[in-house]
């Protein structure tokens, strides 16, 4: 049986970013946008780079997303599910940028493989090697997934609920559920080899 890494429990739900204790809240749209930027910038950039875009492109798109959010709030538009709104805008801008870049989605070739994994101090060198191999297998499976399945996985990993994912991608709830199920099954098969 696998040991559960510290900091994560087997039954813990994926981190949900929305919600949290109510506070006084930012008084101006600008302050509100900065707060949301601090909260979502990393997640958004991570999601955007999953499209095969560079980190520079990802940063620019993130800036554009929050500028759009600022205009959205200034115009007094709906504040319902801002998290989903942010990811939807980021998703569309990433697709647009990718089309503009005319890059093919060969993530395994284009992405710079990061070797700075946080293996944790508890891991032995052997465990680190095994962990690295596992990541490579996951990467191989991930890159072969259809784009919709990849997007579903990444959005779920960023904490969006199924309904939010469906809205971002413009698909049904059932499609999201089926996609995640399919993807996790493939990842699980790769993980157990």
């Amino acid at each position: 049986m696998r040991t559960t890494p510290s900091g994560l429990t087997a039954a813990a739900a994926l981190p949900l970013v929305a919600g949290g204790p109510r506070s006084a809240g930012p008084s101006t749209p600008e302050a509100e946008v900065i707060l949301l930027f601090d909260q979502f910038r990393y997640r958004l950039a991570r999601y955007i780079t999953g499209f095969g875009l560079s980190t520079n492109d990802a940063e620019e798109i993130v800036q554009e997303v929050f500028l759009s959010l600022f205009r959205h709030l200034q115009l007094g538009r709906s504040r319902q599910n801002l998290r989903g709104w942010i990811f939807r805008v980021a998703h569309n801008l990433a697709l647009k940028q990718r089309y503009a870049n005319k890059r093919s989605l060969e993530l395994a070739k284009d992405m710079e493989w990061s070797s700075t994994f946080d293996f944790g101090l508890e891991r032995s060198p052997e465990e680190q090697v095994l962990s690295l191999q596992r990541r490579q297998r996951l990467m191989a499976v991930f890159t072969c997934l259809p784009e919709q399945d990849r997007c579903c996985l990444q959005l779920r990993a960023e904490g969006l609920r199924y309904r939010e994912i469906a809205r971002v991608l413009g698909v049904s709830l059932g499609t999201v559920a089926a996609s995640l199920s399919r993807s996790l099954e493939r990842l699980a098969r790769a993980d157990t080899r």
Binding site: P5, L14, Y42, V62, S114, R135, F142, E185, D191
Partner: protein
């Protein structure tokens, strides 16, 4: 141990793990898991995969992002600029709207002016012709040629009337300001008919309405024919006939026919073999001596005898 509940599918387990099942379904699934080691093990595998993927996703994507301070400062600056632009935006919108309104208004005025000018020119042109069965004396004072009475009276219609060249026709239309009107509505008529010694000079030509006025080209033809007959009979001098037809042919008609209105409302259906389609300027009628005789006979039926 018996498992009476159906085993949830992998998808159901994922939905359970993600909190996407309804309350009732969640309770049912959890009850089943409590009793089913197989499904519980599968659930653990699913959650392990999720955890592993989250790590993979976290480590592999976005690991190269720069610290947040720089992008945050950049965003602050852009937000400040956007806020400044937004304060000017209502004015810009109003300005844009005003500009668009001005442009639309100016365009509408231009269209009205052009259309009005067009209508006026048409109206003017038509008014010029239809309200004036008499020619413009400045443009068409009348002109005669040097020809003897004997030649006039011995010549056929074809011999004295020649087709007006198109260039001259167009010039006459231009001088009278007739633009765009159907040419078949007008006859480029000789004010002094060649049958009374009139010339082909442009000063003797004018666009005479064929149909749309009471005093039209067909009515004038009646007068021309009658005067030709009277002159050749010696009842009226050639110079008198030329003067009267050129100065005011309508008055001459009334005088020589003793009527205030045309005796015969001439129409194309009355004349034999008449073709009023575009053709020679004499209304498309065939050029033959028959015309003189037929017309003379027809008018003589109605025209009073001289002296009566």
């Amino acid at each position: 141990m018996r498992y009476e509940d159906p085993h949830p599918s992998d998808q159901d387990l994922i939905l359970l793990a993600d909190g996407e099942l309804s309350v009732g379904q969640t309770l049912q699934a959890r009850d089943h898991l409590a009793a089913c080691w197989e499904c519980r093990a599968k659930m653990a595998e699913i959650e392990d995969t999720i955890v592993e993927f989250v790590r993979f996703h976290r480590d592999n994507f976005g690991a190269r992002l720069q610290p947040i301070d720089g992008p945050r400062a950049l965003l602050r600056a852009q937000l400040a600029q956007s806020a400044k632009d937004a304060s000017r935006r209502p004015l810009r919108r109003i300005g844009t709207l005003l500009n668009r309104t001005r442009i639309a208004y100016a365009f509408a005025v231009l269209v009205c002016v052009v259309a009005g000018a067009k209508i006026l020119s048409w109206a003017g042109a038509y008014k010029n012709v239809y309200a004036a069965p008499l020619p413009n004396p400045a443009l068409t004072p009348g002109a005669t040629q040097s020809i003897s009475l004997a030649s006039i009276c011995s010549s056929t219609h074809d011999q004295v009337v020649r087709r007006v060249p198109d260039s001259v026709r167009q010039q006459v239309f231009r001088e009278y300001g007739i633009v765009g009107a159907p040419s078949k509505d007008y006859e480029i008529d000789h004010l002094v008919t060649p049958g009374l010694g009139g010339s082909d000079d442009i000063r003797n030509l004018w666009p005479e309405p064929r149909y749309r006025t009471t005093w039209n080209s067909f009515v004038k033809d009646q007068l021309e024919d009658h005067l030709h007959h009277l002159v050749c009979d010696g009842q009226v001098s050639l110079s008198t006939a030329q003067h009267e037809i050129s100065s005011d042919w309508i008055s001459a008609y009334r005088k020589y026919f003793h009527t205030d209105e045309p005796l015969l409302p001439y129409s194309s259906s009355m004349a034999p073999s008449l073709n009023v389609a575009d053709g020679p300027d004499r209304g498309g009628r065939p050029h033959s001596g028959y015309i003189w005789e037929w017309r003379a006979a027809a008018w003589h039926r109605f025209a009073p005898r001289p002296g009566t």
